[in-house]
């Protein structure tokens, strides 16, 4: 437990290239009432609660990043990035369409750079023409400021020829670009035939339910707000919604696809390199559209298989009295109205499955990084952290909260 709390600082060695390190630290300001509860919870652990009532938390979880994740960018891409110096100051990290880590996002980024190059050249041409038009006229301004003049025939003819060339050129360029766009689209779609794994993602206001399907029914399992996938394996993602329209978007891997109630959509994602990526809902879906993120972790096949096995297991039994008390509180309070913890009587499917909640990188759909302190704050007053969230305030005493925390934090 203590180790867990201490864990979230990234290793110094990884700091240089870990894109997460650049994330810096997010400050979570807690309102007084909730802070009080959180403090009680925290101090129950024998920790000193920070005086300014602010929890200083790194945004990134403890997941190690493979070496060279940030350095793997091709030189041409780096050169291209230099074109937009403002972007360089930004974190080229875990939620960027310009930092592709998958086949599709790579093709799309390539297409985008191609479009940028062609269109930037056209733009430069227009600007140059505009400048010359103004410059020329400066010279001509010295002409007596008479009334408007009648254009000369030869000039008109020359300009008309220019117009024809311009129109033909525009048509040729957009036709070519359309061709490239179509080719990339076909290529991206072709990947779908090679999908080896199927995940069903159901969007809900404001979190993601993730179901790993398997032909063997008892090898299917459910998690929330995180997707893990083996590197290099195309994964079919079946997209559904039970309330409003959302959009599934992990920019480092692929463009977005909407999740629409009454329809079933599909997309395929593949990660070509290990790493942690962030996805976010991209269709306005109400109050907490801003806090509907998910973590995507690409890991080597063996690690993925191991994770999968661990997820298939029911929740670990509470190991100490505190946790046992917490389980009792959990199973007799409002918590069970919404949540499932496999292996217990809690089996409601309104909210996220909590069977392995403590093994997830974040809480409340990417709103907070997972830590016991954040979990305390979240349970104590979800409406302050994520106003409008479907998670209600459950009336727990400080002691009960403490126990529930101990229990949930054990659900690795």
């Amino acid at each position: 437990m203590t180790a867990r709390l201490a864990a979230p600082s990234p290793s110094p060695a990884g700091r240089g290239r870990d894109p997460c390190a650049a994330l810096g630290e997010a400050k979570l300001r807690l309102p007084p009432a909730q802070a009080l509860l959180a403090r009680k919870a925290w101090e129950g652990e024998g920790k000193v609660f920070p005086r300014n009532l602010a929890l200083t938390l790194p945004l990134c979880g403890p997941l190690p990043l493979p070496p060279g994740a940030g350095e793997g960018a091709a030189p041409w891409r780096r050169a291209a990035l230099a074109l937009c110096p403002l972007a360089l100051s930004a974190c080229q990290g875990i939620q960027s369409a310009l930092d592709p880590a998958g086949h599709q996002s790579g093709r799309i980024a390539g297409l985008w750079w191609l479009f940028l190059a062609v269109l930037a050249a056209i733009y430069a041409l227009v600007l140059v023409l505009l400048l010359i038009a103004a410059f020329r006229s400066r010279r001509r301004r010295s002409l007596p400021p008479g009334p408007a003049f009648r254009p000369e025939e030869p000039t008109e003819r020359r300009l008309t020829r220019g117009l024809t060339a311009w129109a033909v050129g525009t048509a040729a360029i957009v036709l070519t670009l359309t061709g490239f766009s179509y080719a990339v689209d076909r290529d991206i779609l072709a990947l779908g035939h090679r999908a080896e794994l199927t995940i069903e993602v159901t969007a809900k206001q404001w979190w993601w339910q993730v179901k790993y399907d398997d032909p063997v029914p008892n090898r299917s399992f459910e998690t929330a707000n995180e997707i893990r996938l083996p590197v290099g394996v195309p994964v079919r993602v079946v997209l559904k919604s039970q309330d409003v329209i959302h959009s599934f978007w992990v920019p480092n891997l692929h463009g977005k696809t909407d999740l629409i109630p009454g329809r079933v959509n599909e997309t395929v994602i593949v990660a070509d390199r290990e790493g942690r990526y962030r996805g976010q809902c991209a269709e306005f879906c109400g109050f907490q559209h801003a806090n509907m993120a998910l973590d995507v972790v690409a890991m080597p096949r063996e690690q993925f298989d191991a994770w999968r096995e661990s997820q298939l297991a029911p929740a670990s039994a509470p190991s100490d009295d505190r946790s046992r008390e917490g389980q009792r509180v959990f199973l007799t309070s409002a918590c069970v109205m919404c949540h499932t913890v496999r292996g217990t009587t809690a089996a409601s499917r309104v909210g996220p499955d909590l069977t392995h909640v403590a093994a997830r990188p974040s809480l409340a759909a990417g709103t907070l990084p997972y830590s016991k302190g954040n979990l305390a704050g979240w349970i104590a007053d979800p409406q302050r952290i994520k106003p409008g969230s479907q998670m209600p305030v459950v009336d727990l005493s400080a002691d009960q909260l403490q126990s529930v925390l101990a229990y949930l934090d054990g659900l690795k």
Binding site: S89, F149, L163, V184, P251, A282, F284
Partner: protein
């Protein structure tokens, strides 16, 4: 010819009547009665147009304040200036107000004011309908803003996607106010579209054949046709939405055979043409301003007209590119990619013609021309990023991100607001009789240009590095902080530009240089009359002999006589060649348009609360309309001779 017309007491304009007396009689016939009653019953297209312009700018300022509030919230990560509830209302109100209460109405407003002047007629077609449309527009806008102030402002985006906007996920009245605002503003816009079409078709000055119509008027004509075919879509869809919400229909309810994407198809069938409904009038501004300041006729008149018409048609074939990520079949999507890219051709032609006009001209860099140059710089960039968005794969990444926010602000502010400000500087002397300050104008332009680019260019990058739209806050550390701060700084500079503009208008109204009839030396008919124009626009209806009448007839335009001066009378001409056909009476001022608009308002707002309002509300509406169309009982009498 009826016997009464042959009476020797009837007065007509012509050589037999002295100019001063003609003027005085026309003024008595056409002037709006004084006082509040007269103000409320005015049907003068210039007064109604001015009201439209002022009202639209008030909404522009209000929506701009909302934009600033959003930029303050997003200046840094995890800010808590606004609650998510407030923020969602604010971004919805910003988009809704800018699109429905500012951009479309302000373009209509310029059409209402300028089109009759530019085609050389005394009044707009259906002036009472025109007055009615203003009151309905005003009522819709006020209703929406009162709702917002009372915390029942809409909060599901200007596009109101179902099911989020449906009865299950948006209980309460917020979305109903949005849907009814749509009905209000679309009724107004459709009415104006019909007026403009008929004015252009039937009321052009003799000699103004189709190939001599000013490009601004062409732009407004194509726009009006687009309104006719596009706006019914949003009226149909918003009516379906409000019925789903209020009387339990199931158009968008997948559980009962409805479909969420039906809304998107209908909305974007309107929504994409909407962009061109805003943009085409702006191209009209550009095509008016450029020749005047380049001091040569526009290059490529025919090409520009064809480009306008082509854009009008293509504009209806692209709506699906707003739905590329909804999972529609990819082959179909590729068709829409091609269609969306195809629109680059007419746009490119327009840009070329404008550049060529400037190239071959002897430009005078007054403020209107500065705004036109700013327009080219900004709009072309927006158009090019639009080509990126037309590509299905690229769109799948940047759709619904800040890249799109950047794109459409480049297109709409660059493509429409810059020309609009140029237009205000250009026609202000005609509207008010005074010039705006050129020095303040240059400051206005500079702040606007710099502020705009600082505010919106970074958003391209923000979108590419993952920032989605419509988020009330974002976590620190994703690399979005600095760019957002920069955007906020740019927004404040932009706002300073708007302040300079307001100061300039306020100061110039009182102290500006007095403008003569044609201060810029322009070529079109609105400059052939006084600044500001008299209530009857022209003492005599001018005859047009070319595409640039005032340049081609430097000694004054020939005119036609024979219209009555003791009654409101218009000259109707044939559609293609503008041959004189009919002298048609034009309606007198009337309070009934206001009363009818009030009845409509009661019906629309009432129906938010009970569907029966449609039934009982139709009674006062019927009374209003009958009162409106019932002929005046006073028989027409020839006007006595003025002493």
């Amino acid at each position: 010819m009826s016997p009464r017309d042959a009476s020797p007491f009837i007065r007509r304009d012509g050589p037999a009547l002295e100019e001063v007396e003609t003027y005085a009689r026309l003024e008595r016939t056409w002037a709006t009665p004084p006082g509040l009653w007269g103000w409320l019953s005015s049907v003068d297209h210039k007064q109604v147009g001015r009201r439209y312009i002022v009202t639209a700018f008030v909404f522009f300022l209000l929506a701009g304040l909302l934009a600033l509030a959003m930029r303050m919230q997003l200046a840094g990560p995890e800010q808590t200036l606004l609650t998510p509830d407030r923020y969602n209302q604010i971004f919805t109100m910003h988009g809704t107000t800018m699109m429905f209460l500012f951009a479309v109405p302000v373009m209509e407003a310029f059409a209402i004011y300028l089109v009759p002047l530019m085609v050389g007629t005394r009044a707009i077609a259906f002036p009472r309908l025109n007055a009615f449309s203003y009151w309905v527009y005003l009522a819709g806008g006020v209703m929406l803003w009162v709702a917002f102030i009372l915390n029942v402002g809409p909060d599901v985006g200007w596009f109101s996607y179902v099911p989020l906007a449906g009865p299950q996920f948006s209980p309460g009245k917020r979305t109903d106010f949005w849907a009814q605002m749509i009905t209000f503003t679309e009724v107004a816009a459709l009415a104006v579209a019909v007026e403009i079409i008929v004015t252009v078709f039937k009321q052009r000055a003799p000699g103004m054949s189709l190939n001599r119509i000013p490009l601004f008027v062409w732009g407004q004509l194509v726009t009006s046709f687009m309104v006719v075919f596009a706006m019914p879509a949003v009226m149909v869809s918003s009516s379906m939405l409000i019925m789903d919400r209020l009387i339990g229909t199931h158009f968008f309810n997948p559980a009962e055979g409805g479909d969420a994407l039906l809304w998107q198809h209908l909305f974007w069938f309107f929504g994409h043409p909407e962009v061109y409904i805003i943009f085409l009038p702006a191209t009209g501004f550009v095509s008016s301003i450029l020749p005047t300041f380049a001091r040569r006729p526009i290059f490529g008149y025919t090409a520009l007209v064809l480009a306008l018409v082509a854009t009008g048609f293509l504009g209806f074939g692209l709506w699906v590119h707003h739905m590329f990520v909804t999972g529609l079949p990819h082959l179909g999507n590729s068709f829409y990619t091609a269609a969306s890219m195809a629109i680059a051709v007419p746009s490119g032609i327009q840009i070329f013609c404008w550049l060529a006009t400037l190239w071959d001209g002897r430009p005078r860099f007054a403020t209107p021309l500065l705004f036109v140059i700013g327009f080219i710089v900004i709009f072309v960039l927006g158009g090019l990023s639009g080509i990126m968005l037309a590509s299905v794969p690229i769109d799948s990444q940047v759709h619904d991100t800040y890249f799109v926010v950047a794109h459409f602000h480049y297109v709409l502010i660059g493509g429409a607001v810059f020309p609009l400000f140029g237009a205000v500087y250009y026609w202000f002397p005609k509207f008010t009789g005074r010039m705006l300050s050129e020095r303040a104008g240059a400051w206005n332009f500079g702040l606007f240009f710099v502020g705009f680019n600082l505010a919106f260019f970074p958003m391209h990058i923000l979108g590419l590095i993952g920032m989605p739209r419509r988020v009330y806050s974002y976590p620190a550390g994703l690399g979005w902080d600095d760019l957002n701060l920069l955007a906020t700084a740019g927004a404040t500079i932009l706002a300073a530009g708007v302040l300079v503009f307001l100061g300039n208008v306020w100061h110039s109204l009182k102290y500006g240089l007095v403008a003569d009839d044609n201060p810029w030396g322009a070529a079109t008919l609105e400059w052939a009359t006084t600044s500001p124009p008299p209530s009857f626009n022209f003492v005599h209806i001018p005859v047009v002999t070319g595409s640039n009448p005032l340049w081609e007839e430097p000694d004054g335009l020939p005119v036609v006589g024979g219209l009555r001066v003791d009654q409101r009378e218009l000259l109707l001409t044939s559609v293609v060649d503008a041959e004189p056909e009919v002298r048609e009476p034009s309606p007198e001022p009337s309070i009934w348009p206001l009363l009818s608009a009030t009845a409509v308002t009661i019906l629309f707002i009432g129906s938010i609360f009970t569907p029966w309002a449609v039934v009982w509300g139709s009674i006062p509406l019927a009374v209003g309309l009958i009162g409106w169309f019932w002929p005046k009982s006073a028989p027409d009498t020839p006007e006595p001779v003025i002493d």
